[in-house]
C-alpha cells in the first residue's frame, strides 16, 4: 500500500493505483485519476460508465463484468472501448475509486 497525493489530498492506493478505500473518492479525484491514465477529460458518457461501475460495486460488492457493462450501463461495447481504449472495466473502476475487477469476463 502506498500513499499518494491526488488532487491535493493524501489517499491510499494499491500497487496499480486503485484506491484502497472507495469512500476516499470524489469527482475531482476521478478527473485527476483519468488524466493520469490517458483520458484528458471525462465526458458525460465517461461519467455514465464510471458512475454505473461505482454504484454497482457499492450495491453488490463486486464490479460488473464487461458483458453486463455493455448491456446495462447504456453504453455499448464498441463505445466503451472508444472511451476507455486501455480497458473499459479496469479503467472505469480505477476512475470510480473501486478495486480492480477480479473476474475473467
Amino acid at each position: 500500500m502506498a500513499m499518494t497525493e491526488v488532487a491535493g489530498a493524501d489517499v491510499e492506493v494499491d500497487a496499480e493505483g486503485f484506491l484502497v478505500y472507495p469512500e476516499d473518492w470524489n469527482r475531482v479525484l476521478a478527473e485527476e485519476i483519468a488524466r493520469e491514465n490517458g483520458i484528458p477529460e471525462l465526458t458525460p458518457r465517461h461519467w455514465q460508465v464510471v458512475e454505473f461501475m461505482r454504484e454497482r460495486y457499492l450495491e453488490t460488492g463486486t464490479a460488473p463484468s464487461i458483458r453486463s457493462l455493455g448491456k446495462e450501463s447504456g453504453v455499448p461495447i464498441k463505445e466503451l472501448y472508444q472511451l476507455f481504449p486501455k480497458g473499459p472495466a479496469k479503467l472505469a473502476a480505477k476512475i470510480g475509486g473501486i478495486p480492480k475487477p477480479r473476474g475473467c469476463i
Partner: protein, 169 residues
C-alpha cells in the same frame, strides 16, 4: 569453466516487458476447445492488449452459422470429465453435459459462443477464418456469422501477427 552459484553476478533488474498483442489459433471444434480461446481473447482486450482469433480445422465450426449453436462438450476421449467412455458414448450424453456446462457458465456471466464472438468483435478483436480449411470444407463467406473479419492464408495470418504472442489451442 564452471562457476559456483554464489559466484554468479546478481541478476540484473530488467524492466518487465508487457504483452501488447496476442494471436490465438483455435483448432478444435468442441465447446471445451473453443471457450478458452474466447476467454483469453476477451481478457486480452479487457487489459488493453490487441487480440486476433484465427479459426482453423474444426475450430471453424464456431464461426459457421449452421454449426455455432450445435457445439458440444466432448464426452468421449475427454478424461477431464471423469466419465467412462461407454457412458460418454450414450446418445444424448454430450447434449446433457453441454446443457449443464452452459447453465454453469451463464451463472458466471460467460456468454454463449455467438454473443461472445460479438463481444470480442465489438471490443476491437479480430476474427479470422483459415483459408485452407475454408477450401477443404468447401465453404464460402456466406457460411459464416457476420463478425468474421476475413479469410486469411497462413502467410497473411503470420503477417498480421507481427509482434504478437502466438497461442495455439
Amino acid at each position: 569453466m564452471t562457476q559456483l552459484y554464489h559466484e554468479l553476478e546478481p541478476a540484473q533488474e530488467v524492466e518487465r516487458e508487457l504483452i501488447e498483442k496476442v494471436s490465438i489459433v483455435v483448432s478444435k471444434g468442441s465447446l471445451d476447445g473453443i471457450y478458452p480461446a474466447l476467454i483469453m481473447a476477451n481478457g486480452a482486450r479487457m487489459e488493453g492488449i490487441e487480440a486476433d482469433l484465427f479459426f482453423t480445422f474444426f475450430g471453424l465450426d464456431a464461426l459457421r452459422k449452421d454449426r455455432q449453436a450445435k457445439i458440444k462438450v466432448a464426452t468421449v476421449g475427454n478424461p477431464g470429465l471423469h466419465m467412462p467412455t461407454l457412458v460418454g458414448a450414450i446418445p444424448g450424453m454430450s447434449w446433457v453435459a453441454t446443457k449443464m456446462m452452459a447453465r454453469q457458465m451463464e451463472s458466471l456471466d460467460i456468454p454463449p459462443i455467438g454473443e461472445f464472438l460479438e463481444l470480442i468483435h465489438d471490443s476491437g478483436g479480430g476474427i479470422y477464418a483459415c483459408h485452407a480449411t475454408v477450401e477443404m470444407f468447401g465453404l464460402t463467406e456466406d457460411d459464416f456469422v457476420p463478425q468474421v473479419d476475413g479469410i486469411l492464408t497462413v502467410g497473411e495470418f503470420y503477417d498480421r501477427s507481427a509482434g504478437a504472442q502466438i497461442i495455439f489451442t
